[in-house]
Point group: C2
Chain length 211, copies 2
Amino acid sequence: MTDLLGEKDKTPRTARGERTRRALLSAAAEEFGEKGFHEGSISGITRRAGCALGSFYTYFDSKDDIFRALVADMSGQVRDYVGPRIAQARDGIDAERLGLLSFLEFARSHKEIYRIIDEAEFVDQAAYRTHYESTASRILVRLREAAARGEVSGEPDEIHAWAIMGMNVFLGLRFGVWDDSRPVQEVAAIANALIERGIGSGGRDGNPDNA
Amino acid sequence: MTDLLGEKDKTPRTARGERTRRALLSAAAEEFGEKGFHEGSISGITRRAGCALGSFYTYFDSKDDIFRALVADMSGQVRDYVGPRIAQARDGIDAERLGLLSFLEFARSHKEIYRIIDEAEFVDQAAYRTHYESTASRILVRLREAAARGEVSGEPDEIHAWAIMGMNVFLGLRFGVWDDSRPVQEVAAIANALIERGIGSGGRDGNPDNA
């Protein structure tokens, strides 16, 4: 298959092909997570994946290409891990608590995620922006739905979405990747109390003892 | 002057030397801000600074050395820009509003700051951590002082400090560096309303219309 630019479509067409592509992406997460993009190599990736160099080029064009695919893949992995957990929320504020809680869990078990997404700022600026813009958009959609149900007061703004995402990213770095001594439940509860009183419609009185 | 490791102390000892060192750091901010660490070069820095290669080695040992010095310098520049503005705050919550407001101003006029500090995650992990840990520490000290004056309710926690810093970093990226169409006053006011109701002791009722 060839697209309009005359490039071959490298999407796997068999389950076995999909497994090989997935193994290469996991190997790339290890390789770039440990060595970074510049020091990481295609041969390091195929060695970790236990497959031949030819297989690599069946699915990816270059080191840049697999890095770009990896950023999109990790971004999707976060979304797929966090999404179903958020769906169990009591309300729009609880959704943000579960979002942070599950993101902290994800970061603790995928400590390479920061190195990879953050390095995209240098290797592939578009992939970096897309990751954060789509994350912030999902938060804003949730806040607007919560506002429509009367669970969030005032009009949710992009500023709220980026503020909440920024909290999550830095709490994930500090209490997910760097130091996992504090229970994720506790980190999520304290941060969520700030959001609950900050934008919630619950008529709380500003005293955290009542949270 | 030689330190215990036998390395020469390269701190300038004259005003002229200090000016040259400063010119090299400004040139390094441009060079690394535009090209990134890997593509940036010492000759690019000396060309931008209009000084000889020998002058570079009078003040810095290597490309890594000036990068490390640059991260510490930019971290200090933010602190020195934001600090005096925070000192004019009405109270502890207003201090955080002025902190974000002045950081947005700084980011708009120093758009290279993210590329430089963020690249430290890959080039010099210790400098990266130090930048964020010291920023979060300053926020926590301010929150504790505010709590002691009764302006913040509950016990300020590191989690609050990292949450506020994360908000600021992402709002600075989105509304400082990427897009400066929204007034900094507005961004800071909306984010600060979240913090004010979130941790303030003002007995507000959670309705942003009253903020």
